[in-house]
Symmetry: C2
Subunit: 308 residues, 2 copies
């Protein structure tokens, strides 16, 4: 959390402490999920731990925790979905960094998985992390959650990462290199590649709290969609004018890869306006939830104001 | 089905027709599962269909169908697990064929996915097929199956493809290139890389039939484990002395890649003895199921006598 949002600093301190608690908690949950008892595959398991543990903003697990808590879910019921979305996120980073994809050497301030290990191992790390996400979601204790709600969580996650979501977004991203997209095309790509899993994180938090349908779930879905798109536009903005030391990766990568982005398509001022507009829309979508959704509104603020 | 097993030809004809029916059925199920309505990702979806449809023995779906039918499950309840195991199998083939893994150009008689498309697309095809397998298993109609049994199926599948199963087996396989393994090491690698998903196919058929524990499930688990290992040893044998025209891929690939195999470790005669021994053990494991398991016994026969 490097950039406090505008407004009264006191609630932000409370919020920042809550986010820090989410980060600490998910680190322990992921550490346990990756304590795989298997002497035959030490290198693969080490590469999985290297890729997952010790770094990252943990935005997606934080969204699971904050959403679930806002709706009264016990923390223990949120660990499994929080771990699942982060395992999926890391799998996608490891594969996206491969030479055949974005060919990146640095991630979260460290050599990417295929640089620290090798390409074959990096493919397997992503593959195994995806499977582990579903295993955790199907298997780990989730107090008070019915089998039906758990199945719904698995469906929501699987849909978010398929061709209409994350994998489809990455395919569009690969095909877009050197191409010109219009703003609608950029937004579609961003909504799938990044937005779908962020929206899914909000939905999993709600499902774990027993909110399996109705207007509350629709509000949260809308919130998640706006925050997800805002997050990726802010990512594009930081790739233009962010601080590499804070980001843990080099900036200018999108331009170097000839990737169309929101700023390259619409200009930097329009990108900033759009991010703020989405923040407003996200916060407005929370209105039916009342004061319970305060932390989620602060998270929307953070997403657009973050410097890393 | 190119090599009929020894014995009375009449039951084999019936069996062969049943296997052919399973193959025809799964082709339609997979075709529908891959009719993904998404105009933005035509190339990714075409590459997924190219990789999955129109070729392959479909051994794993056939095991789901034969096991489930033997235990009285309606065919319609077996389509989703049958599709899931084949989607997982094809994802693993597409990733294993990548240049960073086994670097194969030919698969099922056709150019491999990364040759027909490109490497980045092949990574995404595997990723999306894995997610689709879980989506199908969580989402598709499965008449008479409880949410609990469906969750158990997802757990069994996730475990079979993780570090202690398929992904771990491929990691061991990658690390074993140029190395000498002993017979126990070869068997451990084969049980994970190939055996775990074949065993899982048998278990999913049983779970769909409502057999969620007890001695019947244990018998079938043992059957699946022996057949899975036998299948991979026969694969090793065919790579030495098979007919490339029947196999749809070149032989001698294991030796060319300096991969330790059962024949390279123990010799061809010992490999053939071990395959037959596993067939006997597999059939013996079926004894508690009585005559209902006749088709499964014939499948064990086929696995060891197949020429492709």
């Amino acid at each position: 959390m490097s950039a406090p949002p505008a407004g009264d600093p006191r609630p932000f301190t409370v919020f920042a402490a809550r986010v820090a608690a989410c980060r600490a908690r998910i680190e322990g949950v992921l550490d346990r999920a990756l304590a795989l008892p298997d002497p035959g595959t030490a290198r693969l398991r080490a590469a999985m731990r290297y890729s997952v543990l010790g770094a990252g903003k943990r935005l997606r697990p934080t969204l699971v925790y904050l959403t679930g808590e806002s709706l009264g879910a016990p923390l223990a019921s949120l660990d499994a979905p929080a771990a699942a979305v982060e395992l999926i996120h890391v799998y996608s980073l490891v594969h996206d960094d491969l030479p055949a994809m974005d060919d990146d050497d640095l991630r979260r301030g460290r050599p990417t998985c295929h640089k620290a290990y090798d390409e074959g191992t990096a493919v397997l790390v992503g593959d195994a992390l995806q499977g582990l996400a579903f295993e955790v979601l199907a298997n780990e204790p989730m107090e008070g959650t019915t089998p039906q709600a758990r199945l719904q969580m698995i469906r929501v996650l699987a849909r978010a990462i398929g061709t209409s979501g994350m994998a489809g977004g990455q395919a569009i991203d690969l095909a877009a290199v050197g191409q010109v997209l219009n703003v609608a095309g950029i937004e579609d790509m961003h909504r799938r590649k990044t937005g779908a899993l962020i929206e899914c994180s909000v939905l999993l938090g709600a499902l774990a709290a027993g909110v399996t349908g109705g207007p509350q779930l629709a509000s949260l879905e809308s919130f998640g969609a706006q925050v997800g798109l805002a997050f990726q536009i802010q990512d594009d903005i930081l790739d233009v004018e962010g601080d590499p030391a804070l980001l843990g990766k080099s900036t200018g990568a999108d331009a170097a890869h000839a990737k169309p982005t929101y700023p390259s398509t619409a200009g930097l001022p329009a990108a900033k306006r759009r991010a703020k507009e989405l923040r407003e829309a996200a916060i407005a979508a929370l209105a039916p939830l009342g004061t319970r959704a305060g932390a989620l509104a602060q998270l929307a603020d953070f997403v657009v104001n973050r410097a890393s």
